[in-house]
Point group: C2
Amino acid sequence: MTETFNALFSPGSVAIIGASDNPNKVGGRPIHYMRKFGYAGEVFPVNPGRTTIQGYRAYPTLGDIGKTPDAVVIAVSGDATMEQVRACADAGVKAAVIMASGFAETGQEGRTRQQEMVDVARAGGMRLVGPNAQGTANFAKGAVLNFSTMFMEVAPADGPIAIISQSGAASVMPYALLRQAGLGVRYLVATGNDADLDACAMTAAVAEDPAIKLILLYLESVSDPAALARAAAIARSRGASIVAIKAGRSQHGARAAASHTGALVGNDAAIDAFFARIGIWRAADIGELVRAVPLYLQGRAPGQGRTVVMSHSGAVGVMAADLAERHDLSLTELESATLESLGAILPDFGTASNPLDMTAALMGKGDMFPRVLDALGGDPQADMVMIGIPVAGPGYDVEALARDAAASSSRFGKPLVVSAPQQAVRDVFVQHGVPTFVTEGDAIAALAQYAAHARLEASAQTPEFSNNPLSLEGSGLQDEARSLALLAQAGVPAVPNRICATADEAVAAFSALGCGSVVVKGCAAEVPHKSEHGLVHLRLADPTAVEQAARDCLHKLRELGVQSPRVVVAAMVAGRHEFALGVSVDPVLGPLVMIGEGGTLLELRKDIVSLLAPFSQADVRAACGRLRIAPLFQGYRDMPALDLDALAAAAVALGDWAVQHRETLKSVDINPLMVQAAGEGVVAVDAVVELAGA
Amino acid sequence: MTETFNALFSPGSVAIIGASDNPNKVGGRPIHYMRKFGYAGEVFPVNPGRTTIQGYRAYPTLGDIGKTPDAVVIAVSGDATMEQVRACADAGVKAAVIMASGFAETGQEGRTRQQEMVDVARAGGMRLVGPNAQGTANFAKGAVLNFSTMFMEVAPADGPIAIISQSGAASVMPYALLRQAGLGVRYLVATGNDADLDACAMTAAVAEDPAIKLILLYLESVSDPAALARAAAIARSRGASIVAIKAGRSQHGARAAASHTGALVGNDAAIDAFFARIGIWRAADIGELVRAVPLYLQGRAPGQGRTVVMSHSGAVGVMAADLAERHDLSLTELESATLESLGAILPDFGTASNPLDMTAALMGKGDMFPRVLDALGGDPQADMVMIGIPVAGPGYDVEALARDAAASSSRFGKPLVVSAPQQAVRDVFVQHGVPTFVTEGDAIAALAQYAAHARLEASAQTPEFSNNPLSLEGSGLQDEARSLALLAQAGVPAVPNRICATADEAVAAFSALGCGSVVVKGCAAEVPHKSEHGLVHLRLADPTAVEQAARDCLHKLRELGVQSPRVVVAAMVAGRHEFALGVSVDPVLGPLVMIGEGGTLLELRKDIVSLLAPFSQADVRAACGRLRIAPLFQGYRDMPALDLDALAAAAVALGDWAVQHRETLKSVDINPLMVQAAGEGVVAVDAVVELAGA
């Protein structure tokens, strides 16, 4: 870790400005916690009104301490904060936690004061956490620069988990759930307004700690995607994982997020694509955030995720199979040798297929259970094991079951989980280190997430954020001719076309294009929805028809108030299927490219995938495989296979071009993009490019 | 309840045949449980080898007891069961629980023995539970004719819940979760093989108990839909609810179906439709089965489900809003008067919209919190309240919060739930009777289910299963001409067409049809996929083209081995949009009608809804509103509104016809069904009807 993060997480000394003798005040609680949780460094309460605070000597001002503390907690009110930040920066403090609220979250004036505060700190070489931050904690050192009430109620313990959150509440909720489950948490950081050291930077910092196996994130905005990508890369390089909530998905959520942190909530699909690219699993809520934690901590490789379900109840097997399908977890086909072994071990072997119904062996008596586990452990088709124990009591040796299950998982290195509704049964398995769940639903969901996340991590990349964008001339919506020209420049095949100001020019264009049949369309940036105004004339095969159509369009455009009406004359292109290709440039994450079924019903059918640019043709092929109409690429019924290669090439070209021009490009809509049979290419038939500004 | 169910659930006396002195044997456990759980009737252990068993006098045979017990548990092995069933039936026993396995679940021979056993019982006027049953329990009476291990570990307590399950394991899993949460369960029934008194009949029986507010079901098959519909009607009439797992979703999905409709909807969709119709909520797993139980038990009306979320954390509000969108729960727009009141109560009112960010009030001090609850309680736009308490500790008066929350919910009669990760916080709310959840995710999911289930119950119907079906002549796949004729008979408008055996007949048909343009298609039941064999010739406008097309089709059909090749000559019909309409007849639940976007990509786009027949046009309109392409019915972009009335009329006619002919009809595929602009109707252009047999 850098000096800054060392100062925060392993400080030799901490001053608390605005210190209180009352451990239930914001300025009292960090002092209370540091004493209580074994902080071994020096603690300097700063308060002009007292000589001792909670048993520590107190100082009137920072200057009176006589040395410069590594880190400072500034727990005075918002108005008084700036003066203290200046004093700290002047004194050479490396990092400060600002707890006061009343900054960017209150509006423009607060934003300005917040930026001034950051500037003052940076000028003195000091870094800030907050403002409006609950603060940082490293429970390995008892360094608790954090005022959350939670540690009063749920005692900390060190462990291989870090929790980084922009929200105080969202930092302590997973903490409470993990601690109540007996799991240790090392870092707990709530960054508040993210004015300087933000949640992304914090994530990168804790990712470097070799003891950390799992980082849990709560974000309402991704303020620094490059830092988060770097954090993810560091974590991956060490075999550590990141699971994150990015809240504000819904409209309601987005609205509340804006008013809460003053942060901009980015396009949600861009977040999905970004997290997937850098190998972060996106959780829907706090429950999903913590659900699979025991699997991550154990760290056994999930292989291809092919799972064996076994139970002494057929019903558990049936439900687990339903749930596996719902969560896209594959139940494995066991090798026939394994099934034979199982048949030999279990005299009244219930069901000779997965899910395994194995009545007697799950009582834990004799050596049936370990022998079954050996058989499964040795089957290369079986990557993970779920054992459902719906009931146990007299007649069951749960201790033996737990011991054997733990031993098998350890010996074969395969993830193994247990689901059991009885707390007493789960307790025994937990004591043996076996991940346990209350229901089959949770167990299957956790296994599915763990396996899918491993696949995500294996294909993760670290995107570049450093190139210098090029500019595009113009602003706002571009007319069809310019749009098609820009796309052609980008490398997306566009339909041959001519822009014409008169009907005579249109007739000339018809013969110049030299194709049998053309389309004539009104062309004006002000009128993007041409067909709704009768501005599209299809299949014109002779000069008279072209002339009439051009006149009609020019007349209608004039009536719509267009000053310099023009028409586009373009070759008629029939395609095997209509696709759509588009770009939406996220201000933070860059261009998101959308690929999907096109046509007029695009927005109803919503059969689309999206990719954060830049990406490869292989990425496009994988994404297109998730479309409902994906079978068209292999040839469907009597239709030939479509040209996925050309589609992928066009999407990659569009994405690269959008990255290059991301500062001035806002969006691209190509619909339809005609996709032909394999080897015959794609053609953009209609397009609107939107540039920034105006 | 009937005499039979009284005998099982409130017996004056119970004999246990195969009684054991060992409380951990199948024949010992019911005796142990009845003594332990306060059964006040007589217990007669039957065992020729002992004089006393677990303190009760034992009898060598049933006949030695000297009176006829109301109910008997038969706990001898499978081979010895028949003899005991006969003895019980002869003695006039009203009901017996058969615990032995080795019957229908083992194959055909076992099925035969099982039926013999039922016949013997019925002949003597006795009813059976099982075989292969864990048995019945009424914990209000201590009448435990059940051998589950679970009651050794998790003690029972009476309560307003019944659990009915075909599986023993699936009966005790929800039991364990509910009892560990402090909730009482009155009935617990595991019916095993369902040979006589099945899970549906049991459900109807317990639904009649006025103390039962909620019935939890686990089914792997719906053996008696009429009984289940009756049970649901009884429950609804009393304001009780039913939540059910129907397991085996994935198996059904996997089974291959001959018809497109059958493959698309699967048999599982029939279960969904059936449960929805009779007002049963279908849960995905045991977790969902029990999740919303506290809301059902409290029984407060969810109104329109418009929910207020409040928290002292903005993050909780943001997450709850995301989750509400995911679960289709609407967050209400509060009345402006309410927002004004809130602003007056809360000086630093965080966010003046829902979700409410209300920092200070959620500490529970002063009267802010009850005043906020009063303001919400009085707002007619607010139907339900969720309070998120991510953290509490010193400075919080959780007791006051819980008291006020409970009082408000009771006073206004509105459902109110709390989510809190801290066990200690939840405990306080539970003590005050407030439904609590660990995460916002569970709280929102429970509220969403509770509100949606109430809507389902309000529109529930009790289907008729009693009419006498009519027969259709023929078997297997019908050719297009017969199929269209059958549909026309059903009341579905079909395209004008003629069936022709020669090219000359085709030409004659062309002029007879008198339309400008026709389609000529090969017609043979053996070749349902015409377009794949080049057997469809479109837009033929002159006799020569018709003749050529007919010759081509006849030739190709002959080459495909069709003995008597024919062609259909049909009017070309252009439609505004291609739909598909289909039927798949479920052997138990009857015809399921599928409606969706048609065309060659039907099975890829899967934009379909399904309804169990019979149904009304209003049902069709509601279902079609769930299609992705639903906006087409209102007019989309430059397209006129489509004829939803005609589509609904065709679907209702098809459904009614399918119900009438359900014994001989297997499936119907109509694709495309051309839907015209409103007022212009629908036309079936291509269809395949599949009849039973051959």
